[in-house]
């Protein structure tokens, strides 16, 4: 039987997200990977990542998005960037730790396409409290400056929580003033350490929508968000690897799926043949918001939050006002506690 809804279909994925390490000098309260200062046992080495990048290039990937942990905490990460950037559009997400002037010089020379810096507040007190590290805010601000000074495009990322919601416009102004091109407002995911403190940091959906409605970005700053009417089910083009080389489709699915390890199986094999991967990408969902599907050409919204709150891959995304159906986003299901 034909599904009621269907996402666009990619025969092969053009872009991939790679969590290069779960080491991080910060101790973010809501860390999705439960990172520690030292790398975890079993993380792929840089030589192993080089072989992975070779394989991904052969498989047609043309964009790599590196994140962590903190990527710059991985010894040899810059070497990997220098071998990746000539072949793939290369983006790096960082909290700014370790991105000093010398590192920025190497990023510019390697032709990194874009650096994305997380801000957890508009001031040092708020940011450092969430990051669990004194001086983290100053590092992030300095990292933005180093990149902007070298004409590396910079985006700022901010996760919408109880502590960032009142500061969103201040963060937009700060980002714009520092020379960032765009700000991406990300939803809070019930992953890693965020689950343990969910009730203290998560906002009800109405409060999230109110915070978004109150956004007043400075002229010239582009703001992106993934709530209604732009709730995208981007699984149809999502490919991701965690620090251990496991194929997980999307970093936000890290606790829910594993399509095998890249050392054992080519990515395209999982893409083409894993039944769950194909199901998650399909867009065969129980309900689709007409506004979001009209603007995004995909159905049902984010699969990670849909699965987190409902336990079904076909469930509607409760972060979409039209699909929420009474789910209180400030309260985690018992299953996730």
């Amino acid at each position: 039987m034909q599904p009621a809804f269907a996402n666009p279909v990619l025969e092969t994925p053009p872009k991939i997200s790679i969590s290069i390490t779960e080491a991080c000098p910060h101790a973010c309260a809501h860390c999705y990977s439960d990172c520690a200062r030292a790398p975890k046992a079993g993380e792929l080495s840089i030589p192993a990542w080089r072989r992975v990048i070779d394989g991904l290039t052969e498989e047609g990937f043309i964009q790599a998005y590196f994140e962590g942990g903190e990527p710059f905490a991985k010894p040899g990460f810059l070497d990997l960037i220098e071998t990746t950037a000539p072949r793939m559009m290369t983006l790096v997400r960082t909290k700014g730790a370790g991105l000093d002037a010398a590192v920025a010089d190497r990023l510019a020379a390697a032709r990194v396409g874009r650096v994305l810096v997380d801000l957890m507040g508009a001031d040092a007190a708020t940011h450092d409290a969430t990051a669990g590290a004194a001086g983290a805010f100053d590092q992030a601000i300095a990292a933005i400056g180093h990149c902007v000074a070298r004409a590396i495009p910079v985006d700022v990322l901010v996760v919408l929580t109880r502590s960032t919601a009142p500061q969103l416009n201040a963060i937009l102004a700060l980002a714009h003033g520092l020379g960032a091109e765009r700000v991406g407002i990300l939803r809070l995911y019930p992953l890693g350490r965020a689950k343990a403190i969910w009730g203290g940091i998560a906002l009800p959906l109405a409060d999230q929508m109110a915070a978004l409605a109150a956004l007043a970005p400075p002229p010239g700053l582009k703001v992106m968000q993934s709530w209604h009417p732009r709730d995208q089910n981007c699984c149809w083009q999502a490919a991701a690897l965690n620090a251990f080389g496991d194929m997980i489709g999307c970093q936000y699915l890290r606790e829910y799926v594993n399509y095998g390890n890249i050392r054992d199986r080519p990515y395209l094999d999982a893409w083409r043949n894993d039944p769950l991967y194909k199901q998650i990408r399909s867009g065969n969902v129980e309900a689709s918001c007409p506004d979001c599907s009209g603007s995004q050409r995909s159905h049902g919204g984010c699969r990670s939050t849909a699965f987190a709150f409902h336990g079904r891959w076909e469930a509607p995304d409760p972060f979409d006002v039209t699909l929420n159906d009474g789910v209180d986003l400030a309260v985690l299901p018992d299953r996730l506690r």
């Binding site: 666009p8 279909v9 990619l10 025969e11 092969t12 053009p14 290039t57 052969e58 498989e59 047609g60 043309i62 964009q63 950037a85 000539p86 072949r87 793939m88 559009m89 290369t90 032709r111 990194v112 396409g113 874009r114 395209l268």
Partner: protein, 114 residues
């Protein structure tokens, strides 16, 4: 880099060095990664055809092959001047440069079409 449009039909044009092309036919597009400028581009099939023809030959020869190729296709053709507009666009993006491949430091990378 300044924009240099070929002024004469005898000017030679080439794809920029190091370009990596990645067709996504199911989306009707070809992605082009320019590592020198760290930029990713999307080309529709007509623009991709123009880029693929830019192999260091004179512009007039490329325009002739472009026209011949389109005549062999069913359906409506683009309006007159499409080649010039497309070539100018590709040059403004830095995907096509003047000169022959021999004058460049490196050649375009092979296409990856999984």
């Amino acid at each position: 880099m300044g924009l240099t449009l070929p002024s004469f039909p005898t000017d030679c044009v080439s794809a920029a060095p190091g370009l990596r092309l990645r067709p996504v036919p199911e989306m009707g597009t070809c992605l082009a990664y320019d590592p020198d400028r760290a930029r990713l581009h999307t080309l529709n099939p007509t623009a991709w055809l123009i880029l693929s023809l830019c192999d260091g030959r004179p512009r007039a020869a490329i325009a002739a092959e472009f026209a011949t190729t389109l005549r062999g296709l069913a359906g409506p053709a683009p309006e007159q001047g499409a080649f010039s507009r497309g070539l100018a666009r590709l040059m403004s993006l830095g995907l096509v440069i003047t000169g022959s491949p021999q004058t460049r430091s490196s050649s375009p990378q092979k296409e990856t079409a999984p």
